[in-house]
Symmetry: C2
Subunit: 104 residues, 2 copies
DNA sequence: CCAACACATAAGCGGATACTTATGTGATTC
DNA sequence: GAATCACATAAGTATCCGCTTATGTGTTGG
């Protein structure tokens, strides 16, 4: 149940911070790590969780592994949210219209 | 950090099932419970988590507590997703397919 | 009143989770 | 080819989570 993995992955503030940083541009683990008070194994484990949730994908480049946002995970959340579209509040009306545009 | 609460709340399949059932219409705890193999205290605890995440709100009616979807929680997720909307477009196709699946 | 009902809270338990230190694997550079 | 670097994996630990049973709180109706 990958839907579960996405929500669980994002249910941790450290992983959301990592994801947000990655959304600014692809980078390797060391680059991700600096500025963050997190050990190398911890980062590696978080990346593994994010990858399983399809929020992040990776590509090996020499001795580096470059991580980048995988849109698939976001699409999973969007798909889940679609089921409850009728409850979306007026404040996100613009967002709803945007999805409508994308839908056709 | 309420954003954390939303993702954590949805990172449990039982709670997503409860939420989905509630999305079909407001109801009390006992009504929620039947058809689900879940004890009364467990349900009460789940409702507490969902309420804290602003995914559900409640209203006491006599000796019943009627629960209903609180759009605020969904808005929080949408708000979070919006930060990464530049990653959405490539996935419209997947979203459409997901919608198609859900339609049947 | 009090019995029945709807729900919340307390306490305890097993498994999951996020971290740590130590070590392994693979690639690069000198 | 040895040292170094980037990352993964192993193993241990403390905390968190979701469940259970038992009990408490508040409401309704006989």
């Amino acid at each position: 149940m990958i839907e579960n993995d996405v929500f669980k992955a994002l249910g941790d503030p450290t992983r959301r911070a990592i994801f947000e940083k990655l959304a600014g541009g692809a980078m390797n683990g060391s680059a991700l790590r600096d500025g963050m008070a997190i050990s190398q194994p911890a980062m590696s484990q978080h990346m593994s969780v994010l990858r399983a949730a399809r929020l992040v994908r990776e590509e090996r480049q020499g001795r580096f592994v470059v991580y980048e946002v995988d849109p698939e995970g976001l699409a999973l959340i969007l798909g889940w949210l679609q089921k409850y579209r009728s409850y979306w509040p007026g404040r996100v009306e613009a967002l709803r219209n945007m999805l409508k545009d994308m839908d056709q």
